[in-house]
C-alpha cells in the first residue's frame, strides 16, 4: 500500500433502515493517511450510520467499501477493519461494559492477544494520554458523563488503531477538556473521521470538512 493510497474509500454507498426512507444515497468518501476529515450534518442525517458502515456493523445496500487496500464485503472481511479502525461510539454507556476502567481499556488489547505486560503498559499509557492516570480501579458506571467519554476514547486508543472514527467526541466535555482533546487529536499520527456538530472544534482540528445532507456527502 503506497503512502498516499486512501486507507478508507466509500464508493457510491447507499443504505436505508427502511426501504422508503434512505439514509445514505450514493455516498463517496476517501480518507487518506494523515487526513482529519470532519463530517457535519443535521440530527438524523446519517453521520453515525456512515461510521457504523465503515466498520461493518451495518452492511451497505449498494456500493463498495474499501479499507486498508482491500474491498470489504462480508463479516469476516470486517474483522480486520475493526481492529485497525477504532470507532468511538456516540453513547459511551454502550462502549464501556467492563466493571472497572482498567479492565475495560484492557479488553481490546487482550482480545488482540497481547501479553499481560504489554496490556498493563498500553492501559497505563492510554489513560495517561487522556489525563486519566489513577482512574484504573474506578467503577465504570459510577463515572460522570464526560469521564465516560474520555475512558471510551482510551479504550479506542488502546487498540492502537491505524484510523480513528470518532462519533461526537466532544459531547459532554467541558471546555478545558475539549481543548486538551483537540490538542491531543492534532498530535496523533492517525487519519481520522470526526462526526460532530461542534464547528469550532472541527475548525480547529479538521483538515477538511464534509457536509452530509439528503443522504449525500
Amino acid at each position: 500500500m503506497g503512502v498516499d493510497q486512501p486507507q478508507i474509500t466509500l464508493a457510491d454507498v447507499s443504505f436505508s433502515f427502511a426501504p422508503d426512507r434512505p439514509v445514505l444515497r450514493r455516498c463517496c468518501l476517501e480518507l487518506r493517511p494523515g487526513q482529519r476529515v470532519g463530517v457535519t450534518g443535521a440530527n438524523g442525517s446519517g453521520k453515525s450510520t456512515l461510521l457504523h458502515l465503515i466498520v461493518g456493523l451495518l452492511m451497505p445496500d449498494e456500493g463498495t467499501i474499501e479499507a486498508f487496500g482491500k474491498p470489504r464485503n462480508r463479516e469476516a472481511d470486517f474483522r480486520e477493519v475493526r481492529r485497525r479502525a477504532g470507532l468511538l461510539f456516540q453513547d459511551s454507556e454502550d462502549q464501556l461494559f467492563c466493571p472497572t476502567v482498567a479492565e475495560d481499556v484492557a479488553f481490546g488489547p487482550l482480545n488482540l492477544g497481547r501479553t499481560r505486560g504489554q496490556v498493563h503498559e498500553v492501559v497505563a499509557r492510554s489513560l495517561d494520554t487522556l489525563g486519566l492516570a489513577g482512574y484504573e480501579d474506578r467503577v465504570t458506571y459510577q463515572l460522570s458523563g464526560g469521564e465516560k467519554r474520555l475512558v471510551a476514547l482510551a479504550t479506542v486508543l488502546a487498540m492502537e488503531p491505524d484510523v480513528l472514527l470518532l462519533d461526537e467526541p466532544t459531547a459532554g466535555l467541558d471546555e478545558a477538556v475539549q481543548q486538551r482533546l483537540a490538542d491531543l487529536l492534532v498530535g496523533l499520527p492517525q487519519a481520522m473521521l470526526i462526526a460532530s456538530h461542534d464547528r469550532a472544534f472541527l475548525q480547529q482540528i479538521a483538515t477538511r470538512t464534509e457536509h452530509l445532507r439528503d443522504g449525500h456527502l
Binding site: 456493523l57 461494559f97 466493571p99 482498567a102 487498540m159
Partner: protein, 252 residues
Amino acid sequence: MQRITFFQGESVIHRIDPRARVVVAAVYAVLVAMAVRLDVLGVALGVAAATVAAARLPWRDVLGRLIPLNVFMLLLLVTLPLTSGGEPLFSVGPVGVSRQGLRLAATIAIKGNAIVLALVALLATVEVTALGHALSHLRVPDKLTWLLLFSVRYIDVIHREYRRMAAAMKVRGFRPRANLHTYRTYGHLVGMLLVRSFDRADRVLAAMKCRGFQGRFYVLDHFHFSRRDAAFTLTAGVVLLLMAVAEWTPWA
C-alpha cells in the same frame, strides 16, 4: 439501587483468595443442606457465626439479611409441628404438636440461617467482579459468569433509564391513579424499558466486536494463591471433614 457494601471491609476473610472462599462456601452449603443431626447443625451454625465475626461485618446489617429468611421460616415453624404426625409432645386443643415435627422445623431453621450466614461471611465479602473472575477460574460455564458480570454492569443503567422516564412523566403532570390512562402509561414505560434494553444489548455487542471480541473473555488480573489461602482452605477442609464424620459415622 441498594448498594452492597460488605465487600468493602477489612479483615482476614476479605484477604483470602476468592476462589478458596467460593469452594469452601459451596462445600459447606451442600454439607449443611444434607446433614440431619441437630448437634452437627448446631456446630455448623456456630462456625458460620464465628466466620461472620472474623469478617468483622456489622452485626446489625448481617441480622437484617436474615430477616426475610426467618419470616419464611416462621411459617414452617408454626405449621410443621402441627402437620407432620408422629408421637405428640403436647396438644393445643384438638391438634397435637409432634416431637418429630418440632425437630424437623428446628433443623430447617438452623440450616437456613447457617447457610445464609456462611454465604454472607464468605461470598458477600467478595467484590462482584472478583467473584465473576473467581467463578471463571473455577471453570463455571462462561455464559453464567457473563450473566453475572453484565447484570452488575447494566442493572444500574437500566434503573437510571427507568428513573429518567419516570421523571419525564412526572414533569409532564403524570400522577398514577386507578384508571386506564395510568395502566396504559405504565405499559408504555415497561415496554420502552424492555425495548431499550434489547437495543442496548445490540449496541454493546457491536462495541465489543469493534474491539476484537470473539466469544472469549480474558481476565486482566490473576489471583495469587498464597500460603494464607492454603492455611484457610486446609482449616476449613478439616472442620468440614469433622462435621461430615460426625454426621455420617454410626458410632459417633
